[in-house]
Amino acid sequence: MDMKVAKKLGLKERYSLMTRDLAWDTTFHTTEEVFPQTTYEGIKIHDWDKWEDPFRLTMDAYWKYQAEKERKLYAILDGFNQNNGHLSVTDARYINVLKLFLGSTPPLELMAARGFSMMGRQMNGAGPRVACQMQAVDEYRHFQTQIHSISNYNKYYNGMDEFAHQQSRMWYLSDGKSFFDDAITAGPFEFMVAIGFAFEYVLTNILFVPFISGAAYNGDMAAMTVGFSAQSDEARHMTLGLECIKFMLEQDPDNLPIVQRWIDKWTWRGTRKLASVGMMMDYMLPKRIMSFKEAWEMYVEDNGGSLFKDLARYGITIPKCFGQTIEEKEHVTHQSWIGFYMKPDATPFHTWIPSPDEMDWLSEKYPNTFDKYYRPVLEHLDAQEKAGNRYNNKTQPMNCQVCVSTMKFNEPGDPMEMCFRESEYKGEKFHTCSDHCKEIFDNEPEKYVQTFISSHQGLQGNCEPDGVDVNAPDYKPGSQMLDYWKLDKRATGDFNGSDDQANFAKWREQATKN
């Protein structure tokens, strides 16, 4: 008897069966009742079937690809760890890059996973729902692999074990937390513009280049491999973000002003978030890839600029903040490093003054600003440290009500002056760091009055470690923030004289000498 072999499905049929065909029309409740989030933001969608999935990736193919990538990644991680790969990085200062990254990035990947899971439920239309689901799984994978790649360092170096506890509590992590809290509490379309477009498309290279290439340049095979393993996912994410923007703009002309406002808002919020990434490129990588300024020019001004040219046919204009970001690219990294350097007690990573040749590199990369504004103060602080008077500003910071950065940026056009903006809402003052953050506040004050500002919460008595008697006569609110953050004291202070510095030198010597 002849076997009847069913014909193998073509790619298109497979995609249709495994995505679009999985959806159904609701019958017990109306579509509006089941998907209320797709309309309340004011975005008008007339035909969800017009959504083009640029990848046509089905779940079964997705699992196969990702599993293969995982196998390769963990083989390399194991090899790196078993061969004491941590001793092959350029210099122990590099490990502080990982500490900064660990606190600031994996928790945000997790928030992205949560956000895209919500989008997968909230979006009406099988195409975007499947794409959002896959992105949610990707983000979860990035969260895990980043932590796994760094966990080996945690056996040897201080300050990495409490990153999850610190994420929603510590002053310098509040900017990233606020960024994602803002996005995830918006509606699904704003979330897509915030994360899918502004962050993944316009700004993601600024995060990837310093971290992955920085890892490669500095001998960290573990972090480098994690980066490469994530990069093919990133390409898919960028395309999803862009597809969503185009879909909204093509569906109804009324969507344009809403989308434009979100692009303006989220490009700015992303820019503020990346100030500390830039600082890592210019100050923390022992072997540097390129300056933050150069990266900004290449990835944001050139690539982002041509992206916005492409979107001009839909009526989209370059984000309002673009001019200010171009001016600030020569300043923000220096301003950020000074801000961190002066708080040696309050971060789980070390800071230091750049060596003379590193300062020369900065002069060369920042010919308009470094010698004029930043070198003299760094040299002054260096002399103070050498004289046994290391800078330690023990005060608590003032923060922007929107981006939650400390108020450390200059007035546009005048690098010697601080920039302050303020608004009044229901009789209370709210301070912001820039015109753009002020505009974001003024558009939705109900949202931003809730901002968690670590120093303020401390002064209210909300940041006390267990066992503190808040009714004791000598109780001083906020005086035990370091314990509340579970900050490992060995991980604080200047790099010079740290455990990490001494141990790395000792272990490397053991590995290379008899």
């Binding site: 910071p397 003052k429 949202k447 809730q450």
Partner: protein, 120 residues
């Protein structure tokens, strides 16, 4: 007008409302053109606190690390509350000086522009 769109009533209190500070109020202080301090600092103090305490205790503790601090001629210092010029009376309280919750005191020291005149 707000642009906030929500699916349900949306009313939340300010995280930093005055009543959260149990009789104290927030005060920010910034020394202009001395950006070595990176950003203003924040204090929570009763409104009855004399202004002299701000200068003699809190500002001195923080700012005396800067070599310009000793050089200040206090007669020439220019004070602002946010962007409004004002003249604080050392011996009067924050309240009597018109300083309210979350006010930002900015002071300028003419002729002193930070390390090597860089604003730092």
């Amino acid at each position: 007008m707000t642009m906030l769109k929500t699916l349900a009533p949306y009313e939340f209190k300010s995280s930093d409302a005055l009543e959260n500070y149990k009789g104290k109020q927030l005060l920010y202080v910034n020394w202009e053109r001395h950006r070595m301090f990176s950003r203003p600092f924040v204090l929570a103090l009763p409104p009855e606190t004399p202004f002299s305490v701000i200068i003699d205790q809190y500002m001195t503790d923080c700012f005396s690390y800067h070599p310009d601090w000793k050089q200040i001629d206090w007669k020439t210092v220019v004070w602002q509350n946010s962007n409004t010029a004002f003249k604080p009376d050392r011996n009067k309280s924050l309240k009597e000086n018109g300083i309210g919750h979350k006010d930002l005191i900015r002071f300028r020291t003419p002729g002193l522009d930070g390390i090597a005149g860089t604003g730092y």
